[in-house]
Symmetry: C2
Subunit: 322 residues, 2 copies
DNA sequence: TTGTACGCGTTATCAC
DNA sequence: GTGATAACGCGTACAA
């Protein structure tokens, strides 16, 4: 219709510079009149790509999806990829299903790359994908995967920071409600707390483990109180566990922060509405996700990328509980 | 390699019955040895489809994504579509951006259909997509869109149910914290409450509007208490608003449920951890999303579908607040 | 700068 | 049952 060949039309649409102004104008006019829209599927076939990347959520649990953490990841990632006309495909494990299906999907050429939210302890998926040819970036340091590309918050530093803050406010008998020992977030935060305590010459024996949930935080606090009735502060590795701890402390007749200071982790919405509002350590999740997307783009474009972790600094948010 | 034509190989892969056992075996053997995986992009091009549907979240707000409501929608939808090798593409409006880009994407042939989570008051997107040729199903009754396919909880019935329950427990001075007047969830729940109250011969003047948030629920409760100090019950159109109301009531020295009964809506996680735990009305979000997916599949397959709404019954969850 | 012609990897429509 | 062969709609060497 523009009186040119398909090739020239294609050049105009793809934004090539090697087109005369006259031809370009003619094509653009034709596009306008025809309401022409390129077929993305055909385009991707010709280009040898899929035009989409996967966001893998290996947890077969609806609860994790409502986790603000994932919400931020989704937003950060979409935001980063929107301009590259790459779409985000959500891949969540179905309840009671092995990750087999996800692996098959990822290796089946459906996507150009993957961002894996790796909070789960089951690392077979992580290993298999990481070893394969598909570009992939983890959000959160994956356990048992060597040379992986990942972005994470500096959990170790965060643990130190929490302990050091409590120490700086004069607390001396400081406990921690740590995460599970088979999740890097739990391990690293605990290690940081431990080192800060040791450096200050304080005991590191008041440790209880939770599952990052409110209920587990409450029972962990119960255990701590029973074993160390003299404690005057506690660092919980998640806000939910901190909220559980607040409930436990209230039930035990302890006033927060007067008797016991509490500091959480995540800075999710509930942190503001607890009584008292939680002092907590925030992680820049959206920025982390954006960075993961950026790294993935680099990998997809074929550039070699040193598998150096990208680590973001945590950020202390001071409210009333500590 | 199997000594057959592409056509026969394709038949085997696509699971056609019109293949001899011998040929099938040969092809399967070849597939095994070659590790052959069909290219999804080429397949979709040949089939004239995209192999994906969009889940549209028109709210340019990260907060709504962490809403358990959306989490359940995502899970329900993926669950339903997983078997059809249809993938869910998440389409969220970027903050501060018009919905223009989303419309372009949807009409650009990127997806075979769309599920639109239509909670937002801005209905231009709803109208434009609904009027177009793309199969689409709404979750939540869209405002100002005629003949739309949608699934929803029976908000009117839910409002009635809440009021009737409060009445049945002997309350007589019953208020409501309603949602915004330009969202169907707000409108319909209020209408149900109003009718139940009228039918029981009770006054319907104690109405305050909130924005479905905790803060707005608290201020709405403040207003209600100031104007109707004698009220003995309140129906909040969301759990978050109910939580805000609880705080406001506590500040006013009112005991729940002794002085004032409170009933919420949604049955999200916080409903269990408020003090006291919230009696609330749950909606079967996951089932609703699955149904929306099912409807969308029907539409995509080209079958005509009467645009009859699918309405799910709400479910009263009795805890301690009423 | 432009056009020709082929390739991308399948599925679908025919004849056979 | 099976096998050529034509789409599917676009990108892009290569030649002009």
């Amino acid at each position: 219709m523009a009186g040119v060949s398909r090739a020239t039309a294609s050049r105009v649409i793809s934004g090539s510079e090697l087109v005369s102004d006259k031809a370009r104008a003619a094509v653009e006019k034709a596009i306008e009149e025809l309401g022409f829209v390129p077929n993305p599927v055909a385009r991707n076939l010709a280009r040898g790509r899929t035009g989409s990347i996967a966001l893998v959520v290996p947890e077969p649990n609806a609860r994790v999806l409502s986790d603000p953490f994932f919400a931020e990841i989704i937003v950060g990632l979409s935001d980063q990829l929107d301009d590259q006309d790459l779409q985000v495909i959500l891949l969540i494990a179905r309840p009671g299903e092995r990750t087999e299906k996800i692996v098959r999907y990822l290796t089946g050429g459906h996507v150009d790359g993957a961002v894996i939210a790796s909070h789960h302890r089951d690392d077979t998926l992580n290993r298999r994908i990481s070893a394969g040819p598909l570009p992939c970036v983890f959000v959160g340091r994956p356990l048992g995967v060597a040379n992986a590309h990942y972005v994470d918050v500096d959990n170790y530093r965060a643990g130190r920071q929490a302990a050091e803050y409590l120490i700086s406010t004069g607390r001396t008998r400081i406990a921690t409600i740590a995460g599970p020992t088979d999740m890097t977030a739990g391990i690293d935060r605990l290690a940081g707390w431990r080192d800060a305590m040791s450096n200050a010459g304080l005991p590191t024996d008041a440790v209880a483990h939770g599952e990052f949930t409110q209920a587990s935080g409450a029972t962990a606090m119960d255990r701590l109180l029973a074993k160390h009735p003299d404690l005057d502060a506690v660092f919980a590795a998640s806000d939910l566990m901190a909220a559980g701890a607040l409930a436990s402390l209230a039930a035990a007749g302890k006033s927060v922060p007067r008797d016991v200071a509490v500091i959480g982790f995540d800075d999710i919405a509930v942190a503001e509405s607890t009584d008292p509002p939680l002092t907590t350590i925030a992680q820049p999740v959206r920025a982390m996700a954006a960075r993961a997307g950026e790294q993935l783009l680099t990998l997809i474009s074929g550039q070699e990328l040193e598998p150096a972790p990208v680590v973001f600094p945590p950020h202390l948010v001071i409210r009333d509980s500590a």
